[in-house]
Subunit: 80 residues, 2 copies
């Protein structure tokens, strides 16, 4: 079995209102040092088999089709 982690983040320049909200929430909690915050998503996936190359192809397809909106988001695949 292969374990992989996919991290989907907004591209630079894309507005992130959720991150902005977290920023001001942190400041109102008294945590002042925090500059910018940007929020993304993480997917921990388990795949059958042991062929990491094929797993990467599968996960790329999953990202392109479903997990990431490639117009505004980047994705990174880490296979453990």
């Amino acid at each position: 079995m292969i374990k992989a982690r996919i991290v989907v983040t907004l591209k630079t320049g894309v507005l992130d209102p959720q991150g902005k909200a977290i920023e001001s929430a942190l400041q109102s909690f008294g945590i002042q040092d925090v500059g910018s915050v940007r929020q993304g998503k993480v997917f921990d996936v388990e795949l059958a088999g042991s062929d990491t190359e094929q797993a990467e192809t599968t996960l790329k397809a999953a990202c392109e089709k479903l997990l990431a909106n490639t117009v505004i988001e980047n994705y990174a695949i880490e296979i453990a």
Copy 2:
């Protein structure tokens, strides 16, 4: 300036309906190899200063107070 990434994931054993939905969506897209999927959140944070130890303390406080629900979620802080 310090850049850090916080990854918040559900604890093992906590039901993840969103992950389950992604699992079946992937299968209906013809991606069959995928076993389990669990979804989490990622926060890319920029902090003022250069004291990594203090940054870690600040980020821990941020996780405990706001970013993670420690009853059902784990968090991991990576400082770049």
